[in-house]
């Protein structure tokens, strides 16, 4: 028993690089081998997001309006946010819903969001200017004022698309005049960028606009109260949310393919936390024994 305790204590001084290697293996092996894996259980908030978009598509009036997909992420969180964004845009395109790409936290967000839309547009035969539009980038310190202005005059507030074309000249904007012509707000983000939508836009029209949230897993837990208060109609939490959404869509995207690596890495962390605590208790016990001796 004592030998076992000493081994556990000695293991506490393991080289950090061995831990790093273990993690790298846990993540790399399932990707390299492409392990078959079950589909995840779909959580209520993800299902609710999916249902929100489905119900918009089924409504003859709402389905003619414009959705806003706000892609406020940068290259740092591509793995989570890009996967979420792809799932959402794919769903919108499948249902033939028109949408606008927009960003205000980082200009890279607009570029990344647009790239996803352009890539999927080829697959779903979407045409720029008629089926989707790029509203460009607005700096974060001006977003509140911009959204306030967009409430009464959306094309006037944004004026031009990212290429400099007047929004009023694009067919997609023909029926889009005010906040009442928006059917959905999608916020894909790794940071605190949801508030401007809730504060200045969501409830500024004749009726509240359904708003859904796709945060990185870090940002998710603090936004659960908004689901209960009705300010959010759905949430796709990090990569696991994206994986659940891909399940609902029936596609094998990155969310699904990364699932096994995510499982193994979580398992490793839990094992290491338990082993670390076991080491602490073993050390205490050995010290007590030495004290008695």
């Amino acid at each position: 028993m004592d030998n076992f305790l000493r081994l556990i204590v000695r293991a506490q001084r393991i080289d950090r690089r061995i831990l790093y290697l273990l993690l790298a293996l846990c993540i790399a092996v399932p990707i390299a081998v492409d392990v078959p894996q079950p589909r995840p259980v779909v959580m209520p908030e993800t299902q609710s997001l999916y249902n929100t978009i489905e119900s918009i598509a089924k409504d003859p009036v709402e389905s003619k309006k414009l959705a806003i997909v706000c892609t406020n992420y940068s290259g740092g969180t591509l793995a989570e946010n890009q996967t979420q964004n792809e799932a959402i845009v794919r769903h919108l395109m499948r249902l033939k819903l028109k949408f606008a790409v927009f960003a205000f936290a980082t200009p890279q967000g607009r570029e990344l969001g647009r790239a996803v839309a352009d890539k999927l547009a080829e697959e779903y035969k979407y045409v720029y200017g008629s089926d989707y539009v790029d509203l460009g980038f607005c700096p974060p310190d001006a977003i509140e004022v911009r959204l306030k202005a967009a409430v009464d005059d959306l094309p006037g507030a944004f004026e031009k698309d990212s290429a400099g074309a007047a929004l009023t000249s694009l067919p997609i904007m023909a029926q889009v005049k005010t906040v009442n012509d928006i059917n959905l707000i999608v916020e894909v983000t790794p940071s605190e960028t949801l508030p401007p939508w809730l504060q200045f836009f969501q409830r500024a029209g004749e009726k509240p606009i359904p708003t859904v949230y796709c945060p990185t897993a870090v940002m998710g837990p603090e936004k659960y109260p908004l689901l209960k208060s009705g300010q959010l109609q759905g949430m796709m939490l990090g990569l696991r949310g994206a994986s659940e959404y891909e399940t609902l869509l029936g596609v094998d995207g990155f969310g699904h393919r990364g699932g096994a690596s995510l499982s193994l890495s979580h398992l490793l962390i839990i094992l290491l936390i338990l082993l670390g605590n076991l080491g602490m208790f073993a050390e205490r016990r050995l010290r007590r024994q030495q004290g008695r001796a």
Partner: protein
């Protein structure tokens, strides 16, 4: 000379190799401190700064300031330049106070927007906190409900209310928490906060692992399997 840059396939191979080398170079810090990592760190800072400069011009100043002023004849935008120069007064000790005029303007604007922001964000939240059914909850009549659903919904709603109150009590520092009832409420609040922080901790791990999976997927799939070995994507 630079014709190869107009070939999409060549450009793709070049940038995937560059990206792979950058990724491996950054991870080299995990083994030990080295010059390759320092080089890439400075390269990243430079590229990020260059990107910010370019985007500030191409997405803000060019379309919203320069073009309306020079193409559309809106000459009054020229006044924005001296106003913007106020920021730079900070570099002149004698006139540094003038930079506070523009900072003050932004402080004031942010404060002014807070009133509407507060009303729109927090009123629905407060309403959701106090407007929870403690009798005949709707869950009891939903599809899939069974004999315990109604009771559990009421218990969950009571718990919800108790947690909101106890966490607020925990953060109430205006007087010393001496009364046993308040001390116990506060302690309950602290424990429930730990549940919330645990949830955040668990989610944070998931987020960080997801990002690493993203890079590993790139290295193994996009770079090694597709670009190096020529396997199908």
């Amino acid at each position: 000379m630079f014709d190869f840059l107009s070939n999409d396939a060549t450009v793709r191979v070049i940038y995937i190799w560059c990206a792979a080398l950058c990724t491996l170079g950054i991870y080299s810090i995990l083994y030990k401190e080295n010059k390759v990592y320092r080089f890439l760190e400075h390269l990243f800072l430079g590229l990020a700064t260059g990107y910010t400069i370019s985007q500030t011009w191409t997405t803000i100043l060019k379309p919203q300031w320069w073009e309306p002023m020079t193409n559309d004849g809106q000459w009054w935008w020229a006044l924005a330049l001296p106003a913007g120069l106020l920021f730079y007064m900070v570099f002149f000790p004698r006139h540094a106070w003038m930079s506070r005029l523009i900072f003050g303007f932004f402080f004031g604007a942010a404060a002014g927007r807070t009133f509407q922001a507060f009303a729109a964000t927090y009123f629905p939240l407060v309403k959701s906190a106090v407007n929870i059914p403690l009798m005949n909850p709707p869950e009891a009549s939903m599809p899939g409900a069974y004999w315990l659903t109604g009771t559990s919904a009421i218990l969950n709603n009571l718990l919800f209310l108790a947690i909101v109150i106890s966490v607020m009590v925990y953060f109430f520092f205006s007087f010393e928490q001496r009364h046993p009832a308040i001390r116990m409420t506060s302690r309950f609040g602290r424990y429930t906060l730990m549940f919330a922080f645990g949830a955040i901790f668990g989610s944070t791990i998931m987020a960080r692992m997801s990002l690493l999976i993203g890079r590993m997927f790139f290295l193994i799939h996009d770079w090694f399997q597709v670009t190096v070995l020529g396997m199908k994507g």
